[in-house]
Symmetry: C3
Subunit: 161 residues, 3 copies
C-alpha cells in the first residue's frame, strides 16, 4: 500500500471558468491558470504522483509549454494515472497499481459547493476506476484567510494491482 | 483500512471561549462559530466522515440550523462516530469500523498549547475508544500567516471492527 | 502500520540561509528560525513524532534552549528518529519501527526548487534508511497566499521493524 499527498491553489478572477473535480461550477469568478485551474483534480494528480515517487504536475506539465495551455483537469489526471502505472484501463509498466481511496478537502468561500459533491465524486471515481463511495470530498470556507483563492488538498491510497 | 483527512479553521475574537480537543483553553480570544468552534474536534470529525465517504460536518450540522447553535465539539464528534459506524460503543450499521489512529496539527499563535496536550489526547482517545498513545496532537504557530485564526488538520485511520 | 503527519512554516528574510531537505538553496532570502529553519525536514520530523505519539519538535527542541540555536535539520531529524525508535541504524527501544514512505509538499514562490528535488530525496532517504524512490517531494508556489514564507507538509508511513 502506498500513500500519496498533494495540494493545489489558484487565485480567482472575474471572467474565468471555475472547474472543480471535472465539474463546471457556476461562479462570477474562476481560477487563474495556464491549464483549466481545476485545483481539486490537480491536488489528486499530485497525490497520485507522490504515491509512486514521480515528482509533481509542475514538472510533468510545465506552464511554459504551450501544449498544456487550457489543459483540462480530467486529461491531466488521466495522463498522470498512466504515468504512475495506476490507470484503471491501461498499464504498460512492469509494476501496476490501482487507486483505492481518494480523500480531498476543497476550500472556497463562495459559491456553496455541496450541491456539486456527488457529481465530483462520480467523476473522480470514474477517472480512477473506483466506486463513488471510495471518494470523499469535503468543503470548507477560508474564514477570511483566502477570500480570493480556491485551495485543495488530497490524499490517495494506492495498492498493487 | 480506511484513511480520512479533515481540516478546520475559525477566526478568533475577544470575549469568546476557546475550545480545542474538548479542553477549554484560557485565552483572551476565542473562536467565532455557530457551534463551540472546537477546530481540532471538527477537523477530526471531518476526517472520520472522509474515511467512510460520508460528506462533511458542514452538511451534517448546517450552521443555519438552530439545533446546532453552540453545539459542543465532543457531541459533534460522538454524533459523527455514530453516523460513520465507528462509535466505540454503539454500531447499528451492517459494516462497523473503529478509529485506530488520530494524527492532528493545531496552528495557533498564542497562548501556548503544549501544557494542554495530554488532556486533549486523553479526551480524544476516550471519545474514539482509543489509548492516548494512539492520538497525536502537534502544535505550531502561524509565523505571521494567520495571527487571528485557529486552524487544525487531522488524519485518521479506521479499520473494520 | 502507523501514519504520521507534520507541518512547518518559516518567514523569509534577506541575509539568511535557505535550507530544505538538508540541501542549501541559493536564494536572496532564507528562513527566520532559532534552528536552521529547514521547513521540509522539520515537517518530516514532526510527522515521525506524530506516527509514534511523541509530541512535536517544539517540545523536544524548545526555541528557548540555547543548545538548539542553529540546529541543523539533519541532526534534528536524526535525533527524532532515535527518539521515535525509527532510526535505521540504532534502536534501543523495546518496539522499533522503520520509516517506509515519506510524502512531502514544499510551498515557496521563488527560487524554483525542482532542480534540487533529487538531492533532497537522496538526503531524506539516507537519513531515514530508505531508497530515494520511497521519498516524494512536490513543489508548489503560494499563488499570492504566502509570498514571504516557506511552508512544508509531510506524511510518513512507519512499520514495525
Ligand atoms: Mg493547479
Ligand atoms: Mg469548525
Ligand atoms: Mg521549523
Amino acid at each position: 500500500m502506498w500513500i500519496g499527498y498533494g495540494e493545489d491553489a489558484h487565485r480567482l478572477e472575474p471572467g474565468r471558468k471555475l472547474m472543480l473535480g471535472g465539474v463546471e461550477i457556476a461562479s462570477d469568478r474562476g481560477a487563474v491558470a495556464h491549464s483549466d485551474g481545476d485545483a481539486l483534480l490537480h491536488a489528486i494528480a499530485d497525490a497520485v504522483l507522490s504515491a509512486v515517487g514521480a515528482g509533481d504536475i509542475g514538472e510533468v506539465f510545465p506552464d511554459t509549454d504551450p501544449r498544456w495551455a487550457g489543459l483540462a483537469g480530467e486529461e491531466l489526471l488521466e495522463r498522470v494515472l498512466e504515468l504512475a502505472g495506476a490507470h484503471p484501463l491501461r498499464c504498460e509498466r512492469p509494476r501496476c497499481g490501482r487507486v483505492r481511496q481518494v480523500r480531498a478537502v476543497v476550500t472556497l468561500d463562495r459559491p456553496k459547493l455541496a450541491p456539486h459533491r456527488e457529481a465530483m465524486r462520480r467523476r473522480i471515481a470514474e477517472l480512477c476506476g473506483l466506486e463513488p463511495a471510495d471518494v470523499s470530498v469535503a468543503f470548507k470556507t477560508s474564514e477570511g484567510l483566502a477570500p480570493d483563492h480556491v485551495q485543495a488538498r488530497a490524499l490517495v491510497v494506492l495498492e498493487e494491482a
